[in-house]
């Protein structure tokens, strides 16, 4: 996987695309978990959600960058 992509002469990092994908997956997952009522059983819900996103993004990033 190339580290930078080119669109109409503009270079941008592949990580940006991965970020957007991770955000989309996170959005879905977050909604499902909230509907299931999981966040009520978590001590620090916002910290949990930040960490969830970091895990998702890093996992996807490592998958493409390895």
């Amino acid at each position: 996987m190339p580290r930078e992509l080119e669109f109409q002469g503009i270079f941008f990092p592949t990580l940006l695309i991965i970020l957007i994908i991770a955000a989309a997956i996170y959005w879905l997952l977050d909604g499902v978990l909230a509907r299931a009522g999981l966040y009520r059983h978590v001590w620090h819900a916002s910290l949990f959600r930040v960490c969830l996103f970091v895990c998702l993004f890093s996992a996807l990033g490592l998958m493409f960058y390895d």
């Binding site: 909604g31 909230a34 910290l47 930040v50």
Partner: protein, 740 residues
């Protein structure tokens, strides 16, 4: 002696504890803001971004007490920066050779944004303001270096995104204060306040002034509920799922509290006319209704789970409604036979029957509204609910169209004026002045007292400027490396972030932080250019002062003329109640009137006028309720004979109410009132042709008659208010003349 001193010392102790808790919250917020700022600075250095201090400024701008608010403001800030950046790029691409056209287009855009900013509320309004001045912020440097325009835009967007990321993560995770828990508290408090308001309105022991105070409180509460709901949307997925229900909750709160008022007014009117029998006949039902609003422990429900009980009790009350109605009719001393009707005094008896039927009808409507309200509250306890399929209408924001135009025109004129001066005088720091004038002209459009808000910010700028000079000349040169620099910055930032956290000094604090960080212009290799620092600072202050002058000179807000415009827009809402399509009209009317009413109340300078305006808002809501009810009833085919009469009457009533209060408004209202009364008497005549009893009463005629009566009461109230105001004005004039 010891008891009183003990009491005093415990009172002092609890006051101290309250202050300490508050201060602790402020310092915690300051700590969050500062941590996020330093984090943003450090990352910006690591990523080699061009102006790390801008990332810290972003953190300061989005620093708010609750994490949901931070996220909401961040969202609109990011959106506005992206939009503004793209537009700046477009303008540079199109007008790269045409300086004057470029400036004209930027000024136009800033004007448009200022106008939209006036049209919207809270953070959406902020987003528009930001979209306006971002074009200045990015556009002018990009124009000067058109070859690097794209890089400048990317740089700016990355800096803002970095600031938002740091601010968002730190505020959401470091000892956060969440909006969703505050939303839960406000929802519970709203329902509790509603039940006690109902109690006061039904029993009528609360003084007029107290009910008005509650109403004013409700106006603020409803706005606060809506803002907290919007913030929680960005913070908490559970609140996001509940959005339709929360919107319904707010809307039903408004609708039901207006009906409570109508009931109170009706009861007052009955007492004033000596219809004590009717009041006494309604009393047992009022008591049952009130008990149904409370749990077994005789308390209002403290949480959504307990509201389920209230819903069940209200359902039961509605199911047994007919029996209750029978009891109420039995309590009324009825004319026993035909002979008695012919006797003198029977007139009164028939009138009482009509009044009782009206009172029962209105009460049933109110109980249904209260049931719906409690049901929505109860349904909030689970993440998912069947109610969500019904949807919930969004809050309505209203503004005077001319005021929006003026805000736009002012911003465009100020920016072009400063730019012309900049070009004509070849001022090297003209950019800072132009930028700051645009910032102020767009950011403060919705402040009730924009000039004061701007001056507070100017004081913050001055303070921040002094701090920057001290830090710049004495502290930073001694600090080598990132860690030491942070140590050197912390004391200065602590002052700024603390000021920012306190609501009373938030304007001061934001000015301080912005000026301090922008003036320092911290970069990897600092350039110690004191002349540049002074020139930049002076230019910024000039920009702000020009904008502040524009606010107080160029179409100033809060003049008598402006207040009259707002008042007229407020009363004009009645034409919407008269003409707009009926679906969801109650909600849109209530929401729009409350929005405008609060604007109008906030423009008041004295407590007396404030009370006057709260009262006017209540009258307006009641009149609108009656008008919408009348339109709704006249759709009934059986009442077709009254159609033209109702239509004519609504037109006269609306025209009379929206007439400017200085003119013949009192006479017009009196005329409308008497025509309402004429129709009401005609209907009552039709009703008492057969002596109404529980069995024979014609519900649709009674409904029509009730709506007419409420409209008449609202008209009478407005007439009295105008007469009072006129008397007060006359008194003022006499006093003036005596003094002269």
């Amino acid at each position: 002696m010891s008891i009183s001193s003990n009491l005093r010392s415990s009172a002092i102790a609890s006051a101290w504890r309250a202050v300490a808790r508050e201060e602790f919250a402020y310092w915690l917020q300051a700590l969050r803001t500062m941590t996020a700022m330093l984090l943003a600075l450090a990352i910006a250095f690591r990523l080699d971004l061009s102006s790390p201090s801008s990332a810290a400024v972003t953190v300061a701008v989005i620093s708010l007490p609750q994490s949901g608010m931070v996220l909401e403001k961040s969202f609109y800030r990011l959106l506005a920066t992206l939009g503004g950046g793209l537009l700046a790029l477009l303008l540079v691409a199109v007008f790269a050779q045409q300086r004057d056209l470029f400036i004209a287009m930027v000024a136009l855009w800033v004007g448009v944004c200022a106008a939209f900013s006036t049209w919207f509320r809270s953070f959406q309004s902020y987003g528009w303001a930001l979209a306006g001045y971002t074009v200045c912020l990015i556009g002018f440097p990009a124009y000067e270096h058109a070859d690097r325009a794209f890089d400048i835009v990317v740089d700016r967007v990355s800096i803002v995104a970095l600031g938002i990321l740091c601010g968002g993560v730190v505020n959401a995770t470091l000892f956060p204060r969440s909006s969703s828990s505050s939303l839960v508290q406000s929802v519970r408090r709203s329902f509790r306040d509603f039940t006690s308001f109902v109690q006061a309105a039904l029993q009528g022991y609360a003084a007029r002034a107290e009910l008005q105070k509650t109403q004013q409180q409700f106006l603020h509460d409803i706005v606060a509920l809506e803002t907290t709901r919007a913030s929680s949307f960005f913070e908490d997925p559970e609140s996001r799922i509940r959005t339709p229900r929360l919107r319904r909750f707010i809307s039903q709160f408004m609708v039901a509290s207006t009906t409570a008022h109508a009931i109170n007014r009706l009861r007052e009117n009955l007492t004033a006319r000596g219809m004590f029998d009717v009041v006494a006949a309604l009393k047992p039902l009022h008591d049952i209704f009130q008990r149904a609003l409370h749990t077994e422990r005789d308390e209002p429900p403290s949480a959504a789970a307990e509201a389920v009980i209230v819903v069940r009790q209200l359902e039961q009350l509605l199911a047994e409604w007919d029996a209750h109605v029978q009891t109420a009719w039995a309590l009324l001393p009825e004319p026993a036979s035909i002979e008695q009707i012919a006797e003198p005094g029977a007139e009164q008896g028939a009138q009482q029957c009509v009044e009782l039927a009206s009172g029962l009808l209105l009460l049933r409507e109110f109980i249904e509204e209260a049931r719906d309200f409690a049901e929505t509250y109860a349904e909030l306890r689970t993440p998912r609910s069947a109610l969500d399929r019904l949807g919930g209408a969004a809050a309505v924001a209203r503004a005077d169209r001319l005021a929006t135009l003026i805000a736009g025109l002012r911003a465009a004129l100020v920016l072009s004026g400063v730019c012309i001066f900049w070009i004509a005088s070849a001022w090297p720091d003209g950019f800072s002045a132009a930028l700051l004038s645009a910032v102020v002209c767009t950011l403060f459009v919705n402040a009730p007292l924009p000039t004061q808000a701007v001056w507070q910010m100017v004081r913050g700028f001055a303070l921040g400027f002094v701090a920057a000079i001290i830090c710049f000349t004495f502290v930073l040169p001694a600090m080598d490396g990132l860690l030491l620099m942070i140590v050197g910055l912390v004391p200065f930032l602590m002052v700024g972030t603390y000021l920012l956290a306190r609501p009373q000094t938030a304007g001061l604090g934001s000015g301080y932080c912005m000026m301090f960080l922008v003036s320092l212009a911290i970069t990897e290799t600092m350039q110690y250019d004191v002349v540049g620092l002074l020139n930049g600072g002076i230019a910024q202050i000039v920009g702000v002062v020009v904008a502040a002058l524009a606010f107080s000179v160029l179409f100033p807000t809060n003049t008598a003329w402006h207040r009259r415009r707002v008042e007229r827009t407020l009363w004009r809402e009645l034409t919407r109640a008269r003409r707009a399509p009926l679906t969801d009209l109650r909600h849109r009317f209530e929401s729009g009137v409350r929005d405008l009413s609060l604007q109008f109340i906030n423009l008041a300078t004295s407590e007396a006028t404030r009370r006057q305006r709260v009262l006017a808002g209540m009258i307006l809501l009641e009149a609108g309720r009656a008008i919408i009810a009348l339109r709704d009833i006249s759709r009934n085919a059986e009442l077709a004979i009254f159609d033209s009469a109702i239509a004519a009457l609504l037109d006269t009533a609306v025209d009379a109410l929206i007439a400017p209060p200085e003119d013949r408004a009192i006479d017009l209202i009196a005329a409308a009132e008497s025509s309402v009364q004429a129709l009401r008497l005609q209907i009552e005549g039709a009703l008492s042709a057969t002596v109404p009893t529980a069995a024979t009463v014609q519900q649709d005629l009674i409904a029509l008659r009730t709506a007419l009566q409420l409209l008449q009461l609202a008209l009478a109230e407005r007439k009295n208010q105008l007469a009072d105001m006129r008397e007060n004005n006359a008194g003022e004039k006499v006093r003036h003349a005596a003094r002269a």
